[in-house]
Each structure stands twice: as structure tokens, then as C-alpha cells.
Subunit: 158 residues, 2 copies
DNA sequence: TGATATGGTGGAGATATGCAAACCACCTCA
DNA sequence: TGAGGTGGTTTGCATATCTCCACCATATCA
């Protein structure tokens, strides 16, 4: 399955570049939406809390430092935000099984519901783009994106 | 092609929801990358300049207010950043043909090159995820993402 | 055991960005 | 023509976030 050094490599590389550009276009196109969602996520929380909550929503429970690394925020801000979200009941924490210094944070039912509501509400405009897509294409895109994001850090650790 | 009111609608809606979740997972997964790219884009520019440059890279020349709206920043910050990028030679502006109050900004060759370099450099880690994909799947994903982001504001205006 | 490293938390100061308001040039409409 | 609106720019201010830095509890390694 490794095609890294076979001929025909060049067009493969072109496709990979094209994928990079498309993903970047998607991220650019959704950035305004992200920021506005973050701003409206919770009236008593800073915008960045939404990025944390959304990551937990997408990838499940994790340690604070893992979250900070994954969303590109520093640990102290992440820690503060996590504290606030916990006191608002949006997420719970439990001790990490393998390291007593550490904890595992996870969205509470309310937190999950609130993220879902924010995504749903703010995403409406964007998803009108797929109105005239065939269900097949839609399903294929879902499947491919799923594969793209499935990996979850299992190899970024040492 | 409009299936909006036919039966079988419910599974359609499920797929649309799933797409939303996948796109959000992708955005969450790439957020750290975005922020770090933004921070390293140019030593004399604030991070947000990268978001502007990247949008222009993806969607082409536009008016400042259009850019601000699209990337979810306010106009004053956008204006300032555009000024700085212009003085650094990363982008050019020309008068808008239809409105003499307005201008059109576009990436210069150097700006385009610098965005591409940033994307390339910082994106390496991420794109290892597709190493064992078939070229077919890769191409399909490129095509579908292209359709998703193709529209470019032609209907968000009045 | 001791020495050093790491995860989480908190604070102090610097910076980036948002928000509000003012201004000018220009557009639109009456 | 005049009145009010809009695009771009600039300024002042509020706030969010980052960058260190220190601290504690625990882990790891000698």
C-alpha cells in the first residue's frame, strides 16, 4: 500500500497538494462561522471555551494538556477555561487511571447538548450548500472525512 | 434533484447531521495547526494576518469588507492588517471598478508564495494521515470538498 | 533515597483583537 | 440639489489570550 517511491508518484503528489488547498479553503470558509459560534457559545464564557468544548465533543474525553495541545492553546488558559466550564456544569472531570497528577475531562450531558445546539444553530447557513447534492455524494463525503479525522493521536505520542 | 420534501428525508437529515459533525471534527483537528501557522506566518505581522492571507489565497481578490465578513473579523482590524501586509509587499490593492470608495485587495506573488510555504511546512504532519489512502479516494475527497467550498458568496448577498 | 521531569493550577504583565465612534469620500434616492 | 447610507480608515478603550514564571503533587530515574 506504500506508494511513496513508485512511479506515478507525481500525480499523487499533485492530488495531495490539491487536498491541502481544499481543506484550507474549507477552513477559511468556515472560520467566520467558528468565531461566531465561539462568541455565542455561552454568555458567561470566553470564546475559546467553545474550541475546547467542541474538541471534546468531536474526540471524546482527554487530559487537559492533551486538549491544550490539540486545540493550539496554552495550558494555563486551557486550565482556567476548564475550571469555569466545570463550575458551570458543562463538563466533568475524573482522576486519570494511570497518573495521579492528572485528570480526564469530559463533556457533561448539558455540555454536549449545548455544543450540539451551537453547531446546529450557527451551521444552518453553511449547510444550505449541500441542498442539491445527491445523498450518495453526501454519504461519501461523510465517510471520507471520517477516515481523515479518525486517527486521534495514537501515533503523535512517543 | 431536490429531495427536500420526499420520503426518505429522515435518513437524509441524519447524513446532513453526520456531515456537520465530521466537518467540525476536521476543524477541531486542524485548529492547532491553523493557530501555529498563523503565529509563524510572518515575523512582523499579527497572527490574524494569516487568516486574511489564507482566505485570499483560497478565494481570490476581494474587497476588505468582504474579507472581514468572510473570516469573521471586524473591519477595523482587517483594515489595519491589510495596510501592514501591503506595506510588506504581501498584497496589492487596486480601485474597485464599480465603486470609487472601495478597493480590491489581492495577494502579491510573494504573498501567495509565503502562504503556500506556510501551508506546506506546517501541514506536513497532518497529511501523513492520507499516506495509505488510495489515489481514487483522495481524488474523490478533493472533488467533493471542492464542490462544498466552490460557491463563493454569490448568494449570500442581497 | 534523592534529583529531575511532568501535569495541573494560578498570577503578572504584554499583546492581539473586538467594539464603538468619528471621519471622509462616495453612492443612492428623492 | 440635498439627505441619508455605505466602504474604508483611524483612534481609544475593553477584554481575551499568550508568555513567562512559580508552585505543588506526583512520576521517573539514578
Amino acid at each position: 500500500m506504500q506508494t511513496t517511491s513508485s512511479p506515478g508518484n507525481e500525480s499523487r503528489h499533485k492530488i495531495e497538494l490539491a487536498l491541502g488547498e481544499r481543506i484550507n479553503a474549507l477552513i477559511s470558509a468556515t472560520r467566520a462561522l467558528s468565531e461566531r459560534s465561539a462568541a455565542h457559545f455561552h454568555p458567561r464564557l470566553q470564546p475559546a471555551a467553545f474550541h475546547i468544548a467542541r474538541w471534546l465533543y468531536a474526540f471524546g474525553p482527554a487530559r487537559p494538556s492533551e486538549v491544550a495541545e490539540a486545540v493550539g492553546m496554552d495550558r494555563s488558559s486551557t486550565s482556567t477555561l476548564i475550571g469555569k466550564m466545570r463550575s458551570l456544569g458543562l463538563l466533568d472531570s475524573s482522576p486519570a487511571p494511570d497518573d495521579r497528577r492528572s485528570i480526564i475531562v469530559r463533556l457533561s450531558a448539558e455540555g454536549r447538548q449545548r455544543v450540539a445546539a451551537t453547531l446546529e444553530e450557527r451551521g444552518k447557513e453553511f449547510y444550505t450548500r449541500t441542498q442539491d447534492w445527491s445523498t450518495d455524494d453526501l454519504a461519501r463525503l461523510v465517510e471520507l472525512l471520517g477516515r481523515l479525522t479518525a486517527e486521534r493521536s495514537s501515533e503523535t505520542e512517543s
